[in-house]
């Protein structure tokens, strides 16, 4: 089996983010533009906030085929652009430079220093750069620190020295920062812990007394040597260092963030300590840790924003005179969801890369100048019990205002692909997020649209156009709607209203309405052409005899009409603005459709006319005066064409969202069998080449031009609308997530610069297309706790979700506490009460809750309970109405861990829902539990609600449940057990205790049972009814920490392990046959085990390192009638697919392409591609489509070189890549 791996949705979570001016000085404006570099596991994104729209735009997204662990930015003194330093698992230090004109990141330096992989003592995890850009330090978690000196050569190019070592063995490093010491020698500070003594001391006393140290390393630029200068003991809770500006701007030194405190430290400076304010409702046992920090520096002032693990942001100020700091103040700023990185932009924005859930862009409304809860080093009180804490109540946002959001699926906990909405393509249901930010997201392949207006029309229109009055106008002037026998003209202004003074003929239906020349309008109706000049004069051309116009093709200066009977008449606009008949031509039969290519820039006319005929051909005719209406080329197609459109692609030399490509002219044809046919037209000869076709839907696609991000694009209206557009240099054809549309036109007005006006049924709709370049658009339904698993209830198409969280209060307790709190405080404290934000944690039942709900939990997080408390619920959700029809909160510290639907054979109750729960589950200091249960619920109220039938206690956690032959199979700890439904509980009928660790997945097929063990991969079992026994007949010889499993076929299982690998395990055919042909059953019973396991071993036939923990696998098809592929979702919030190749030829082609790309285009962060995909097991029979899809981004000569080696043209390779992608999505 050979598979093609393709990431459908790149990772959406964020590991780290830095801000810098990577594109340098903008040539148009003199200000520096700032970009945000975001590392998302193995992808590196460059985002830029648009100050006008307030939206974040992705400039570039690169797959680096390695794990990015740290990012830093620096600028050489006097330079005007920043470099990006990447610490990854490649064992190399990589410095990247962004080139805005080609929109790509270039590797400036790549220094190898160690082995690849995320290792303890190989640097890559911690990175710090001298604020003056003179040196950088890259450190490992243990022992190794390397310092590189950065400089520039005579040609002002960046140079990098060989590394200077600052290693210290038996030392752990927690954090690293560079001190700002102006132009003195660069100094790096690190929080370190020596463990040598603790390691040697068996009594554990030394370990208890271990002391963290703040160590300063100085790089002597003169001696070219790093010395460990000072090492001072520091609070043992220290976890983060923040550089304090120095060198004239501030006192230099570092802020040390500790458990509950922030300290200011510098060499030879006394420690300044201030306590971090605590939330009033925080249990005493919990500390407050800083998880993210950002510095904002202006000429006259600087401040820090520190975020705690609960999401509260504090502003930290230092009072200093010269190098002496007198006071450290911590002031409550605002509360936003917990981030993994915060970036403050100079333009007054704050980018919050959320730890889980959507990222956000905030705008500063204030910088916390108002009075608020504040703690200071000056007022710090030390009592007998320790330092006096300061309390505060979180309040609504005061200093920040959210203006944009970037969707993030991280983490995908569970996923199902199903077509619950009866749409053309199935939907992906993903359970995402964590705690109060959990959601169930419905992903649909396609682009999202946002509807701006919808108005009803008196009848069902057949076509719609928009026209400008003058070619230089910014916005459209009229919307013309044609009905079967009337034409309606609407003028676009403040409002859209009907007008009658437009000179358009309104007593008949229209065939085309366009702007002609500079400023005249043309309306083509069945009986003639009406040419409306700017001064109001109307010229009318009438059809000869009884003929009527059937089809029209036009551009700015040329018009071709087809009369009934197949006569073509060609008009051209002359110098005086008159429409003149130029040529006539009789076609052999009726014309099915017409199109004229747009007039090329600087030319008088376009040379090409395309004519589609009912004899399944498309002809290109010349419009040159010399050979007017003479055929240039003919293309036969599979079905009669219905609609034609020329799409001109202007030449691009890169730029912000384009790769290098030459100008091109494409002819698109919508055929009657629903296929979109696309071919390249030679701009000189008119020859057609490089044809591609794609099935779009059941209706013949109708093609309309439109404008998307200032470029020509195409709307194809089949049974659903599709958009063909160019994004980052690629032509993409993507469905739109909306209903069938009859006719459409581009729309531009004051309120909406790039929209689409469409008619569907008897409605006129105006919408814009959003988030270009994305594969899926999503709808989110909020949930209450972290979703663990869900099942789709097949008959009613409802979804049953189990959610659970540790260390939180249940909804009722929270409500009660809130009420109490409100009553106690009476009035508004901090001015925050009664601001009436509706509670957003999801269940419809709570919408009507009292007005006093001050804080949306999604933003503020749940109040923290004791860490051993569990809260959990079971929810039945109607995905169509997004309503929760039933929500059962589990009591007594129980947490739901597994769910399945089951039909017991006695059929008394029909389908039941089985939920496995664990009571009082603890993981620390060791895993304990008070008991496990399997709840059995029956559906009432037509499947909308649940009623507990009974509850069966089991001795371990039931992590896996599955229906099997009218009974319930449960994996209870390491025991596989078969249960039957009893009157008062589940009846244990049979069990097998021979599984090594813990059963985490069960799949069944016929009489086989495929059991996944938490540590030991798959076990294949068989149930024998005549003996009432479960036998393990085969297992895997490789230990695998299974995180997801999926049944592929009778002998094959697909699994994913926690190290980020996907593999397929298959039982060899002969063994499988042998087991199936065992009539007496003696063999299976008495066969001896091998390697302390089952007698037979499965083979791992596919190996692939995804580089991210796969949490769910599903076999499904994402396109109607397409082959099935294996879809997976990961912790970082990416969705990918593995498609099985059907021909050996394709395998050869793609493996060669992959091989060439590996050689010619090595990954950006320095990790070898082959080594990355083989990180744990050598990659086997999987071709990396993500690497293959980087082919179009190669320089043209490189593309040609690879294509030559493959005996193909670059076009053919692109077509192949497109084809295989279209097979998946």
């Amino acid at each position: 089996m050979y598979l093609y791996s393709l990431t459908l949705q790149r990772a959406t979570g964020a590991v780290c983010a830095v801000i810098g001016s990577f594109s340098g000085r903008d040539s148009k404006k003199s200000a520096f533009t700032q970009e945000i570099a975001v590392a998302r596991g193995s992808t590196l994104d460059l985002l830029r906030p648009d100050p006008e729209t307030g939206r974040l735009r992705t400039l570039l997204s690169v797959d680096v085929f390695g794990a990015i662990r740290s990012l830093a930015q620096f600028r050489l003194t006097g330079a005007n652009k920043d470099y990006l330093v990447v610490g990854s698992d490649s064992g190399r230090l990589v410095i990247l430079e962004y080139s805005p004109d080609r929109n790509r990141l270039d590797k400036v330096h790549q220094e190898t220093f160690g082995k690849s992989g995320c290792r303890r003592i190989v640097p890559g995890q911690l990175l710090a750069v001298d604020p003056k850009g003179r040196a950088l330090c890259i450190a490992a978690l243990e022992k190794q620190k390397l310092v590189y000196v950065l400089n520039r050569d005579a040609a002002a190019r960046l140079t990098i020295s060989s590394p200077l070592e600052a290693h210290k063995s038996n030392t752990l490093t927690f954090a690293l920062a560079a001190l700002d010491c102006g132009f003195d020698n660069p100094v790096f500070a690190a929080i370190e812990l020596e463990y040598a003594e603790s390691d040697r001391d068996p009594t554990g006393q030394a370990a208890n007394q271990a002391q963290k140290l703040l160590t300063f390393y100085e790089l002597d630029l003169g001696l070219n040597h790093v010395s460990r200068k000072v090492s001072e003991p520091i609070d043992n809770g220290a976890n983060l260092l923040v550089t304090v500006p120095g060198g004239g701007d501030g006192p230099s030194g570092v802020l040390v963030c500790c458990d509950n405190f922030v300290l200011y430290r510098n060499q030879g400076h006394p420690e300044i300590r201030a306590v971090i304010p605590r939330r009033a409702d925080l249990p005493a046992e919990r500390g407050v840790l800083i998880v993210a920090a950002a510095t904002h520096k202006q000429k006259s002032m600087f401040f820090f924003l520190l975020q705690t693990e609960y999401g509260d942001i504090f502003k930290v100020d230092l009072d200093h005179s010269g190098d002496t700091v007198s006071e450290l103040r911590i002031k409550y700023f605002d509360t936003i969801p917990v981030t993994s990185a915060v970036c403050v932009l100079r333009s007054g924005f704050l980018f919050a890369a959320s730890e889980f859930g959507n990222h956000a862009l905030y705008q500063f409304r204030d910088i916390g100048r108002d009075a608020d809860v504040e703690s200071s080093s000056a007022t710090l009180m030390e009592t007998e019990e320790g330092f006096q804490p300061v309390f505060f109540q979180p309040r609504a946002l005061k200093n920040l205002m959210r203006i944009d959001e970037i969707e993030s699926l991280m983490p995908v906990m569970d996923m199902r692909v199903a077509n619950l909405f009866d749409e053309e393509t199935p939907q992906l249901f993903t359970a995402c997020g964590r705690g109060p930010r959990s959601t169930l997201r419905i992903l649909r392949p396609g682009l999202a649209i946002s509807e701006m207006a919808r108005s009803m029309l008196p009848a069902e229109p057949i076509a719609v156009w928009t026209v400008k009055k003058n070619i230089n106008d910014m916005f459209d002037a009229y919307i013309v709607v044609s009905f079967t026998n009337v034409t309606l003209v609407l003028s676009i202004g403040e409002t859209i209203e009907e007008v009658s003074d437009s000179q358009f003929l309104d007593t008949t239906h229209s065939l085309a309405v366009t702007l002609l020349g500079e400023d005249s309008l043309m309306q083509v109706h069945p009986n003639g052409i009406r040419h409306i000049r700017e001064d109001g004069r109307v010229n009318e051309w009438r059809t000869p005899g009884k003929k009527t116009i059937t089809k029209v093709g036009s551009n700015r200066l040329q018009v071709v009409i087809a009369l009934s009977g197949g006569e073509l008449i060609y008009f051209e606009m002359d110098m005086t603005g008159q429409l003149m008949e130029v040529e006539k031509q009789d076609m052999s039969g009726d014309v099915a459709c017409l199109a004229i290519a747009p007039v090329p820039e600087g030319r008088q006319r376009s040379r090409f006319l395309a004519v589609g005929s009912y004899d399944n051909t498309i002809r290109i005719l010349s419009l040159d005066p010399d050979d007017c209406l003479q055929p240039l080329s003919v293309q036969s197609v599979s079905s009669a064409p219905e609609s034609l459109l020329f799409l001109e692609v202007q030449a691009s030399i890169g730029g912000e969202d384009g790769a290098d490509y030459p100008a091109n002219l494409f002819l698109n044809a919508g055929l009657q069998n629903g296929v979109l046919f696309r071919t390249n037209v030679d701009m000189v000869t008119g020859q057609l080449s490089d044809t591609r076709s794609r099935f779009l839907g059941l209706r013949p696609p109708k093609l309309f031009p439109c404008i998307v991000s200032h470029r020509q694009a195409m709307l194809c209206l089949s049974s659903r609308p599709w958009l063909g557009y160019i994004h980052q240099g690629h032509f993409l054809l993507t469905p739109l997530s909306c209903d069938t549309v009859e006719s459409a036109a581009s729309f531009s007005s004051d309120q909406c610069s790039e929209g689409v006006v469409a008619v569907a049924g008897d409605a006129l709709r105006i919408f814009t297309i959003e988030r270009l370049g994305e594969t899926f658009n999503e709808t989110a339904i909020p949930l209450r706790y972290t979703p663990r698993k869900f099942v789709i209830l097949p008959k009613k198409k409802y979804i049953a979700v189990i959610e659970s969280d540790k260390g939180a209060f249940s909804a009722e307790e929270r409500e009660a506490a809130k009420k109490e709190c409100l009553e106690a405080s009476g009035a508004a404290e901090n001015g925050n009460a009664n601001n009436g934000d509706p509670m957003e944690n999801g269940d419809g039942q709570e919408d009507g809750a009292e007005v006093g709900n001050t804080f949306p939990d999604e933003q503020y997080g749940y109040p923290k309970a004791e860490s051993e408390r569990w809260v959990s619920c079971i929810r039945i959700l109607d995905p169509r109405s997004r309503d929760t029809t039933c929500l059962l909160e589990l009591q007594e510290n129980e947490a739901a861990v597994s769910i399945c639907t089951v039909n017991f054979h006695d059929k008394e109750h029909g389908t039941l829902l089985a939920v496995g729960t664990a009571k009082g589950l603890q993981f620390w200091p060791r895993r304990t539990l008070a008991g496990g249960f399997i709840h059995v619920y029956k559906f009432v109220d037509e499947g909308r609600a649940l009623e507990l039938l009974h509850k069966t206690q089991v001795e371990e956690v039931p992590l896996a449940l599955c229906q099997f032959q009218g009974r319930l199979l449960a994996g209870v700890g390491s025991v596989l057990r078969l249960y039957d439904l009893g009157k008062r509980k589940l009846l244990r009928k049979c069990e097998n205790k021979l599984f090594p660790r813990t059963i985490v997945s069960i799949h069944t097929y016929r009489d086989r049972i495929y059991v996944g063990d938490m540590q030991e991969s798959f076990h294949y079992c068989k149930y024998r009814r005549d003996e009432n026994q479960l036998y393990i007949f085969a297992d895997d010889s490789v230990p695998r920490w299974l995180t997801a499993a999926q049944h592929i076929d009778f002998d094959t299982m697909a699994g994913a392990d926690k190290f980020g690998n996907i593999y397929f395990a298959r039982l060899p055919q002969d063994i499988s046959d042998e087991i199936e042909e065992d009539p007496t059953g003696g063999k299976i019973k008495w066969e001896q085990g091998k390697l302390n396991g089952a007698p037979n071993k499965v083979e791992e036939i596919v190996q692939f390192h995804v580089g991210d923990v796969v949490t769910c696998l599903q076999k499904a098809s994402l396109i109607p009638g397409g082959g099935e592929c294996l879809i997976y979702g990961t912790v970082m919030g990416s969705v990918g697919a593995l498609l099985a190749f059907t021909s050996r030829e394709d395998v050869d082609f793609f493996s060669h392409l992959e091989m060439h790309l590996r050689q010619e285009h090595p990954p950006l962060c320095g990790r070898d591609h082959m080594a990355y995909r083989s990180a744990y097991f050598p990659v086997k029979d999987v071709i990396d489509g993500d690497l293959c899809e980087q082919y179009p981004s190669l320089p043209a000569d490189m593309q040609r070189k690879i294509a030559d080696e493959l005996d193909r043209t670059p076009g053919e390779i692109l077509k192949k890549l497109e084809d295989i992608r279209n097979k998946i999505i």
Partner: protein, 184 residues
């Protein structure tokens, strides 16, 4: 007096019995041996007998029975065929010719019905109803087997006497059916 003593009588009858059984055995062997078939030339159907039967009579007999059982199952599934019926008659007559010779044959429960029917099967016309009866019995047997399987699957076991008892590792509902009652 001695001769009329009880012990003597008993000994004499034992001897007679022994002789009789020996005679029976000889008769049986004769009947099955090739000589016996030749000597039994009065039987018009002997020629029909396959020669191989003469070699290993008991085994052949068993095989044939199995074959019959199998073909009857086939008959059951594929519907009735007249050609089959005619075949049946020949076999049945063959069987009836052999049956009196008291061949000890182990027949499974499933085959008992067949044997009985074979012995009874005389008329050609009655065969169809017989067939139906036979298939009914077959389904009955299968139903019983399925019932037994259901009980084993739900945790019942059988002891050496064929009695059902509950597996101690398995849980049961209080009102669960007892196979000892259900199946008796």
């Amino acid at each position: 007096m001695h001769n009329k003593g009880a012990r003597h009588i008993a000994a004499e009858s034992r001897l007679r019995e022994k002789e009789l059984s020996k005679k029976h055995e000889i008769n049986k062997r004769l009947a099955l041996s090739s000589d016996a078939s030749h000597s039994n030339s009065g039987n018009p159907r002997t020629g029909v007998k396959p020669t191989s039967i003469k070699e290993k009579p008991l085994i052949e007999e068993t095989r044939r029975a199995i074959l019959e059982a199998q073909s009857s199952r086939f008959n059951d599934f594929k519907g009735k065929k007249v050609s089959h019926d005619s075949k049946w008659t020949t076999t049945s007559s063959f069987d009836s010719s052999v049956a009196p010779s008291d061949v000890p044959m182990e027949l499974s429960t499933g085959n008992t019905g067949l044997r009985e029917w074979n012995c009874k099967g005389e008329s050609f016309a009655g065969n169809q109803t017989q067939d139906k009866l036979f298939s009914d019995r077959q389904t009955e047997v299968r139903k019983r087997q399925e019932q037994e399987l259901r009980f084993t699957a739900s945790g019942w076991k059988r002891d050496g006497h064929g009695r059902w008892y509950r597996d101690e590792n398995v849980e049961f509902d209080s009102d669960e059916d007892d196979p000892n009652v259900c199946l008796s």
